[in-house]
């Protein structure tokens, strides 16, 4: 009977020890459970730190990141300017389209960089489960 109880108690959340045991025994069980819980939590924290460290193996990842972000920003500005210039050529409004789209391109460049450095908070389920693993992308 007691065996069965502890057996099922592991799966479901059961704060008490086997029903037919005395209060002192139950307290001992609780103490043991609390101690185990604390140890597990400590282990989890260390595990998380470990995976966190493994995820960024130093220079290679950092170098890739830097190059990526820099070119993302520049590309936004360049494409914005190109679109503005193209509109100007078609409409004959030379400086204005270029000016406006240069600014929009700047914003797009910033948007590009932001997209890469911050995991989007409103990410859809598959991405949000993946986001903690690789937020830098």
């Amino acid at each position: 009977m007691a065996d069965k109880d502890t057996g099922s108690g592991e799966g479901a959340e059961r704060p008490q020890a086997p029903a037919n045991s005395d209060p002192a025994d139950a307290a001992a069980w609780d103490a043991r459970r609390a101690a185990l819980e604390a140890k597990l939590a400590e282990h989890r924290v260390r595990q998380a730190a470990e995976t966190e460290r493994e995820r960024r193996p130093g220079t290679m990842q950092g170098l890739a990141e830097g190059l990526k972000l820099g070119s993302e920003f520049v590309a936004g500005v360049v494409v914005g300017a190109a679109i503005g210039y193209g509109i100007d050529r078609l409409a004959g409004t030379l400086p204005f389209g270029l000016i406006v789209f240069l600014m929009i391109g700047f914003a797009a460049g910033v948007r590009n960089v932001l997209r890469h450095v911050s995991p989007s908070p409103a990410a859809k389920p598959p991405a949000s489960t993946d986001a903690p693993k690789r937020p830098v992308d």
Binding site: K68, S71, F101, K124, P126, D130
Partner: protein, 252 residues
Amino acid sequence: MEHDPTDPIHQFQITRIVPIQIGDWDFSFTNSALFMVLTVAVTTAFLYYTTRGRGLVPSRGQSITELSYEFTANMLRDAAGTAGMKFFPFVFSIFMFVLVANLFGMVPYFFTVTSHLIVTFALALLVIGVVVGYGFYKHGLKWLMVFVPSGVPGYILPLVVTIEIVSFLSRPVSLSVRLFANMLAGHITLKVFAGFVVSMSALGTLGVIGSILPLLMTIALTALEFLVAALQAYVFAVLTCMYLNDAVHPHH
């Protein structure tokens, strides 16, 4: 044609191996085309022959193949989820092509395919074309919602959508220019420092002793270039996965 051996640009010259002219179009088989064919042939042959044994305990070659498979698969799953795995052959092909082409460029006298903007831009357009094509195919016109971030008030929506579209259009540019510029700049730097060794050692004993410095620099740069070659292939593949994610899951 005789050329200066220290000319850093000469290595990027396109030469026609088999001139082919169809109408007004030049379809010549160039050195660039030759190395693209070589890249594909070597990659395919390597992947095929290393996995031919299908050992339960992988041989060295099979380990490399399995590693690159798992590396790419994890990359794609992280970025685009399980639904994105149907693009695995595409991403793997691109990754292996860029990686092998970059590494081929490190072999002396070999031509670096990815140091030409038109090649990398064609690859980037292929990626964006797949993203747009699959997006419309899968989601129809609703895919355009990828340009409309949720939770934006209506009065600034036109501006935000314009910014998003420009940001989207800048992707193939940044994707291709980054790869091309890295390979071009790396190979020019390498050649310039190697050229210093040649021209300094022509100046006599003192020059030979002095040329040790650029020689050390060349060695260090060679190591760096190997790193860059692998890194840029990785970045190209990661960004491909990220863009494919927009095609698979357009709502963000």
